[in-house]
Structures are given as C-alpha cells and as structure tokens.
Amino acid sequence: MAAENIFAHVKRALIAAVWLAFLTAPIMVIRVDTVEKTVTWRWMHLAYMAAGSFLLALVWYIMLERRDRGKANKDAEGNVKESALARGFADPKLVKPMLAFGFVAAVAFPWIFSMYQTNILVSALIYVVLGLGLNITVGLAGLLDLGYVAFYAVGAYTYALLNHHFDLGFWTVLPMGAIMGAFFGLLLGFPVLRLRGDYLAIVTLGFGQIIRLVLENWSDFSFGPSGIANIDRPGLFGIPYSVEQATTYIYYIMLGLVMLTIFVTARLKDSRIGRAWLALREDEIACQAMGIDNTRAKLMAFALGATLASLMGVVFAAKTTFVNPASFTFMESAMILAIVVLGGMGSVVGVILGAFLLMLLPEYMRAFSEYRMLLFGATMIVIMVFMPKGLVRAKRKIYKINAETAG
C-alpha cells in the first residue's frame, strides 16, 4: 500500500475521531450526580473515545480500500472470485463428509448438550425454515415481503385455537396449518399482483400489521393480548412424556422439517418453477414476454413461502405451549428478512448459515449483556459492507449437455 494512501486514511480517521469525540463529549465527559448534587468532569474519557474511534476508523478505512482493490482485480479477470466459504461448500470431496458429520452431530445433539442448548437450537431451526420460506418469496421470486411474520402467526393461531376449542392434536393441525398458510399467502398475493419494489414492501408491511392488530383486538376470537395458554405438545402415539423429553421430541420433529424444507427448496430452485421465479425477479416484462404467467408464478411464490411460515407457526405454538400477538411483531419479519439478505438471497446454504448466525449470535453474546444488540448490529453492518451478496453468493446450476447433441 502506498504511503500517501496510509496518510490519507490516517487523516480521515483523525477527522472521524475528533468529530465523534466532540459529538459524544457531553455524555462521555460530564457526569451529574443528582443526589450529591455534584458534577464530575471526566476529561480522560474524551481521550479514550478519540483514541478508540481513531483506531477503529483507521482499520475500517484500510479494510474498505482492500475490499475495493480486490473488486477491481476481479473485474479485470472478468469472473468473480468465490469466498473461501463458498468454495468449501462447492468442493465435492468436502461436501459428503461434511454433510455426514453434520447429520450425525445434529442427531446426537440433544444427548450431548443440555435441554437449554437444545431449546435454543430448536428456535434456530425454526428460523432456518422461516428463512428458507422467505427466500422463495424474496430471494428467488424477488417479491419483497415485509409482513412475512403474519403467516407465522396464522400457523400458530391455527393450532392454538383448534387445540383450545376442539382439542385437535399437533399432527392433525400440521397439514391444516399448511393449507391455512397457503390460503393466506394467496389472500395477500391477489391484491398485490400489480405491485412491486417499495410499493409491494409497504403493502405487505401493512398486511403483517393488520394480522397482528386483529389478533390483539378481536378478543372474542383470539383472546387478545393475553393470548392462549396450555396448548398441547405434539402427541407421541399417546405415550406421556416429560418436559425434557418434549424438547428432544420437538427437536427431532424440527430436524425432520428442516431437512424436508431444504430438500424441497433445493429441488425447486433448479426446476422449471424455480427458473420462472428467477426470471420474474430479474425482469418482469421480459419474463412475461417469454411466455411465463407472472400471476401464477407470483401466487405460487407467495403461497409456498406462506405455507412454510405457517407450518413453523404450528411448531412454535406446540413448542412454547403459549401464543400471544407479541411474538409476531414487525421485528420478527425484519429478522427473517435479515437472515435471507445476510445469508445470501437465493442461496439455500447461505440462508441456513444466516439463520444460525442471527439466531445463535445474540444468544451467545449474552455475556456482553447490554452491549449485545450493539455488537449484533455491528456484525450485520460488517457482513453487509464486506459481503454485499451475503455469506454465500447464490450460484446457478451448470447443466450437463447430452453427449449426442453436443457432439
């Protein structure tokens, strides 16, 4: 790196540090004790602030420059270099053992780790499926859905209400939840067929809020903010089991559902339907002009995404045995969207990684107590700045051509 570059970075970092120190001076320096009625001036804090932000800014600028330089090199070569992560997932020699190890580890997990850990992992798995579901709508079909959590709520309340009123069991409601999800997906899909981009985002955002507000205020139907308690856990052929065993049981159910979802989304991605979704995302007019029924493709994407969310809602209700509208706020939608974007839009592996990262990171950062969300936010920013396509860049399939036609 050239010397003048370093000099420029130092200068910019210095300016940033001075500016930040100046801005934060009142809160960092002055401390008013209202009981003793004294004011302490902690001038040293100003120095810490300036030094800390100077170092951070310097590292940041240098990293940004390295990133841009890397990008320029790639452009010259004409093809994009894969991240080490993506290459690891693509190497066939590594994939099989990795999958086998992952599977064994996943099956053994509840026997090795505590119930607490298993519970966390179940939550993470739920978000894996939610992420993969939203990945169909947003990542593949390019329909920005900010109200995705509504379908999660639909599933949860489908099970909660049917269980409360009619005593229906988990396994009976699971398929019904899927159907309800698909139905609500279409319900949202029809009115927004002509919208896209920002407009679509706003309407779906509204849809999510409507569902939550209805659940909160229509007390006769949904029991309002107090929610529904004592929902049955999944039945196991009538065999009674303890709370600990329930966690393990639900964990295995989730493991099955996750594998099913991965299978389904991976197959769809490189199918006639998946290609139509991608074309829809890339250029709606060209897509339609090439004979693809946009309406059908959109409705399918909405319905399928919603089905998966609704399934997870049913599992969620059975896992916590309690649902109320507070679990289905916009924050959840934003979180699931973050999983998709951070993981890599359209990439199945990426979304799975994203879900684990975003769900487990805050959990294990509890040690940092009040700085937890700050660190979490910082991590997200760093990933998005340095890996704008997400952890794993979605790749298209390389097709084999039949020898006879190619010859």
Binding site: L268, D283, A286, A289, M290, G291, L304, Y399, I401
Partner: protein, 272 residues
C-alpha cells in the same frame, strides 16, 4: 370470443393489423396503422426515432392494449385469433416472440438458462413434479436442456452456455435474446433493432443468421431496424413509419424510390 373463425387468412398472412391506433393521454403514438406479415416473409418496419415502431411492437404483444383497431394472428394451429388486449404471456404462447430494443435478458442466469426460460410455455412440470422429480420430469428437464443448447449452437453461443448472461459481450447478448425467443417455438419472430450497437461485421453475420433461422424454423420475421443496408438486403417488404403513421410500403426498391420516404429521412429543404 378470441377465435372468430377457423379459416386461414386468404393471402397466407400470419399477422394482420387493421386500423390500429394507440393514444398515450393526448399523444397519438400510432394512428390507423395497417400492416401485414405473410408466411415466411421478412418484413421490416423502419422510420425515424420516435416514429412509434417500438410502441407498435408493444401493442401487438400485449404490453399495451391498442386504443383502436384490430390485431389478428394466424398461428400454426390455423385458428384466427384476435390479439388486442391479450395478456403478454399468452401472445407469446400463441407463437409471437420478441426481442427488446434495450436488451432485456435475465442477467444473473446463465446463457443456457435464459434460453431454457423460453421453453417454459412449451413444458409443464408443476410444483409437485419439480419437488418429486420423477422420471417424466427428469426427461422433460433434459429435453429442455438439450433443445436449449441446440438453439445456443444455432446462434453460435454454445461455448458460453454456462456464462452468466450479464458477462456476455454486447453482440452475443443480442443473439442470445433471439435464441431465447426462438425457444418459445414462434411462428412470428419480432426483432426490435437487433443490429443496434453491432459493428458492420457483426451486422453481416446477424443478417445471415436471420436468413438461416427463417429457413430452418419456418418463421416469419418482422424487424425494426435503422441499418439501411441490412434492411434493404434482408427484407421482402418494408413499412415506413413517421409520426405514428405508415407513410409508405412496398419492396425495398419501391420504398427506396418513394419521395415521401426520402423526405422523411432527409428532411425537406424548406423545413431546414
């Protein structure tokens, strides 16, 4: 309602447009346009910038609904169909496939996949089929791959089959758009300025390609083009458009000698 009768068009037309007009608010982009393309013909639509050529394409492919007039298509099935206001994807399914003036490929799909999209309306794997991937689905999928690859070979892009279409050179992107349109098995190919941005050599190759495609796929071609050399040597008939009206029509020779056309292109002395 769409199929008014089953008779073939009397003079072998595959597309006939009568009295078509298109208004955008107060702006009359097309007025009373009559145009006909017959089986196996290459017809050119020319005219100065803003004459309404692209608007004409948009009107006959369902992207806009014409304000007045009739558009009839005579697909291979032989049934006369009224195309006005038909949905864009159904027009394509009927057999009228187009390319775009400002290339509209699917940038983060490979060249092969772009062509495979064209096969969409001729195949039928549904969600369930795609998930289960039974023998029928696999066979169909392989057929889509093979036939798309064949088409890439026809336009000379087989070496770039697995490249992202955004990474292809400009001329290759134009040819890829043609391959994608051909994949929908059209009876009429609509090309909007296919030679735009190409050098003379590429333009010449394109011309030969269009001739080959017409023979091999038995398609009729309607093309918008500004390159006069190409238009004059390629087309059987030419329509000249100015301010949304057809001001002249005939063989290249007739049109080239029409004083109206010369005026439209060179401008009148008195106007200057």
């Amino acid at each position: 309602m769409a199929q008014t009768d089953t008779a073939q068009a009397p003079d072998g037309a595959v597309l006939s447009v009568h009295n078509m007009s298109m208004n955008f608010g107060g702006l009359r982009a097309l007025s009373e346009v009559d145009l006909e393309v017959r089986q196996g013909e290459v017809v050119a639509l020319i005219g100065p910038n803003g004459a309404g050529k692209t608007t004409f394409f948009n009107c006959i492919t369902g992207i806009y609904t014409p304000s007045e007039g009739d558009v009839f298509a005579y697909p291979r099935s032989g049934k006369k169909r009224r195309v006005n206001g038909m949905r864009t994807n159904l027009v394509c399914e009927l057999g009228m496939a187009r390319t775009f003036q400002n290339i509209r490929l699917f940038p983060s799909m490979t060249a092969l996949e772009n062509v495979m999209i064209g096969r969409h309306c001729r195949t039928k794997t549904g969600i369930l089929g795609a998930i289960l991937r039974g023998p029928g689905t696999r066979r169909e999928e392989q057929m889509v791959v093979d036939s798309s690859y064949e088409l890439l070979k026809k336009v000379g892009l087989e070496k770039m089959a697995n490249e992202y279409s955004r990474n292809l050179p400009y001329g290759a992107q134009r040819r890829l758009e043609i391959a994608r349109a051909l994949a929908t098995e059209p009876f009429l190919l609509l090309l909007d300025e296919p030679a735009a941005g190409m050098n003379p050599q590429e333009t010449l190759e394109l011309k030969e390609m269009v001739i080959r495609i017409r023979e091999e796929f038995k398609v009729s071609v309607l093309l918008i083009e500004h390159d006069m050399k190409m238009v004059m040597s390629l087309s059987d008939r030419i329509y000249v458009m100015e301010y949304g009206r057809v001001i002249s029509t005939g063989t290249p020779k007739e049109v080239g000698e029409d004083p109206q056309v010369i005026r439209a292109y060179l401008g009148e002395e008195s106007d200057a």
